[in-house]
């Protein structure tokens, strides 16, 4: 190999390794810092109790309201977003809406994806005021759903697009209808990618504070109905980190640690599922 090609090879290796290291280091760094600052205040009552003294300021009790609240919010939103995103992604196949309409839809989804979540929050708030709905679990779920749809639908769409046309042609050639082809072939083949889409959207949903700031409201209690206001982990972090009290700030890191743990666990479960689902994939 001549020296120039050799240098090229080396340079690229260095670049790639450096970039990879940065990726791993950033996750490790985040976990480390959050754990160092939050681990001291993390205890069982943090997880199972609701805050004492109101607005997390009592330095006592826990953030069960925010944990359960976030799980309520994001579970509801993930389910709703899935029910909407999957048909959208499947409809984007050319045998349904055609290339032109699909391109336009993708543009719309990408713009929605790029829209800041605070805008979703403000939009949701305006609509809720107009309809006379209070900030509530329902409001939060709806706004989060809207926030999650573009990312979920586009990720699923990319997975659906990767299904080889010849594979679909096989099913059509056997006399399958569009629905049969879509469910038996496209859905199955794209299933791991569809899982990834759900996870990406879940991640965006559970970590987002701005969209639910005005729409989900705040409470120290665990909501018992869709119309109750609801607390959430990102806002628990935000409010507590914003206080001047060091003990409360430390509890913000404990809340962040819990949020991080949920994200990691859900991702691992999803990987496991995705791996099982990929058994029948045709390459």
């Amino acid at each position: 190999m001549n020296p120039k090609r050799n240098r090229e090879e080396k340079l690229f290796r260095i670049l790639m390794v450096a970039a990879l290291v940065l990726v791993f280091a950033s996750l490790a760094g985040i976990i480390l810092v959050v754990a160092m600052k939050g681990l001291a205040s993390l205890n069982l009552s943090m997880i199972i109790e609701t805050p004492k003294g109101g607005y997390y300021l009592g330095k006592e009790g826990g953030i069960a309201n925010a944990i359960v609240g976030s799980l309520y919010l994001v579970t509801g939103a993930t389910i709703l977003a899935f029910l909407i995103s999957l048909p959208v992604a499947l409809a984007l196949q050319k045998e349904y809406i055609g290339r032109r309409a699909a391109a336009i839809t993708r543009l719309v989804l990408d713009i929605l994806w790029g829209t800041p979540s605070i805008v979703y929050g403000a939009f949701g708030f305006v609509i809720m005021v107009y309809l006379g709905i209070r900030a509530s679990l329902l409001g939060g779920i709806i706004v989060l759903t809207l926030l999650m749809i573009p990312i979920m639908a586009r990720a699923m769409d990319e997975a659906v697009r990767l299904v080889p046309f010849e594979l679909k042609e096989m099913a059509y050639a056997m006399g399958a209808t569009r629905v049969e082809t879509t469910l038996a072939v496209v859905f199955r083949q794209a299933l791991p990618g569809i899982c990834t889409g759900v996870i990406l959207a879940f991640g965006r949903g559970i970590g987002d504070a701005a969209s639910i700031l005005f729409t989900a409201g705040y409470t120290d209690e665990i909501p018992t109905s869709l119309m109750d206001p609801v607390a959430s982990l990102p806002l628990a972090v935000f409010f507590q980190a914003g206080t001047p009290v060091p003990e409360v700030q430390a509890r913000a890191f404990a809340a962040a640690l819990i949020l991080l743990a949920i994200v990691i666990i859900v991702n691992l479960i999803a990987r496991l599922l995705g791996w099982r689902f990929s058994k029948h994939i045709v390459r």
């Binding site: 046309f165 010849e166 679909k168 006399g175 029948h280 045709v282």
Partner: protein
């Protein structure tokens, strides 16, 4: 047994004409080979016969193809029924993303065939159906102990026979095969060829091939296409011993390919 008649068929992709005025009557219960140089329109002609061409967006088809006297390009035609009667075996045997068993059961399920079969449906009837078609395709002995495994794990040669089992499972009257052995090793190719010879008792088989020797070995009837034109079609023996057209002679002798 379905009878196919092609009348004044013209196909173009966008503004590119690919088939010009094809008139052809397909003899029944024979192996018909469509031969011709690459790009002459063999696949297109084959796919026109079960309307797989419809899946291309910018394709336009004029003329008619009669299946037992009924024009398959009639807007009232039920395409799923048509494709059930005229099965298709592709060049590359994509297995469906499911188990070996489900690959063969898929067709009967969507067309409700296992319900009609002996035993009145149910799991047992489906099992015997799947076994029956895997045997027909000469694959049963190799897969009988691993029916629940992903079909994608099979070798290419096995996948092609699985594809054959899948086509047979919808109980078609005609089988269209697009270079069914081109992706296969010689042994697997021989296996598939053997299956075809057995199958022609009951099916009309239309086979695209660019291997002249294969056409000689297998075909009873030859259709020769050249740049979108139907040059010559006649019984294989006559075609190879006494071709009429200069282009045919040149193609058989290997001067054009």
């Amino acid at each position: 047994m379905a009878h196919i008649q092609i009348q004044q068929l013209r196909v173009s992709y966008g503004s590119l004409p690919v088939l010009n005025d094809i008139n052809l009557e397909i003899p029944d219960r024979q192996i018909v080979a469509i031969i011709g140089p690459s790009g002459c329109g063999k696949t297109t002609l084959l796919k026109s016969m079960n309307r797989l061409l419809d899946l291309n967006e910018d394709v336009s088809v004029t003329g008619s193809i009669l299946l037992d006297g009924v024009n398959i390009y009639d807007p009232a035609m039920d395409v799923t029924c048509l494709r059930k009667r005229v099965g298709f075996l592709p060049q590359r045997p994509y297995p469906l993303p499911m188990s070996i068993f489900e690959n063969v059961a898929f067709g009967p399920r969507i067309h409700g065939l296992s319900v009609l079969s002996a035993g009145g449906g149910g799991k047992q009837a489906e099992k015997s159906l799947v076994e029956h078609y895997l045997r027909l395709a000469g694959l049963w002995d190799e897969v009988k102990d691993r029916l629940d495994e992903p079909a994608a794990k099979l070798s290419i040669g096995q996948q092609q026979r699985l594809a054959l089992a899948r086509v047979l499972s919808i109980e078609p009257e005609v089988i269209l095969a697009d270079e069914p052995t081109s992706a296969l090793d010689p042994v697997s190719a021989k296996l598939v060829e053997t299956q075809f010879k057995l199958l022609k008792e009951n099916y009309t088989i239309i086979l695209v091939t660019h291997i002249l020797r294969q056409a000689r070995r297998l075909a009873d009837y030859i259709v020769f296409l050249y740049m979108g034109d139907l040059i010559e079609h006649k019984p294989a023996a006559v075609f190879f011993s006494a071709p009429d057209d200069e282009k045919t002679k040149a193609y058989i002798s290997g001067e054009i390919s």
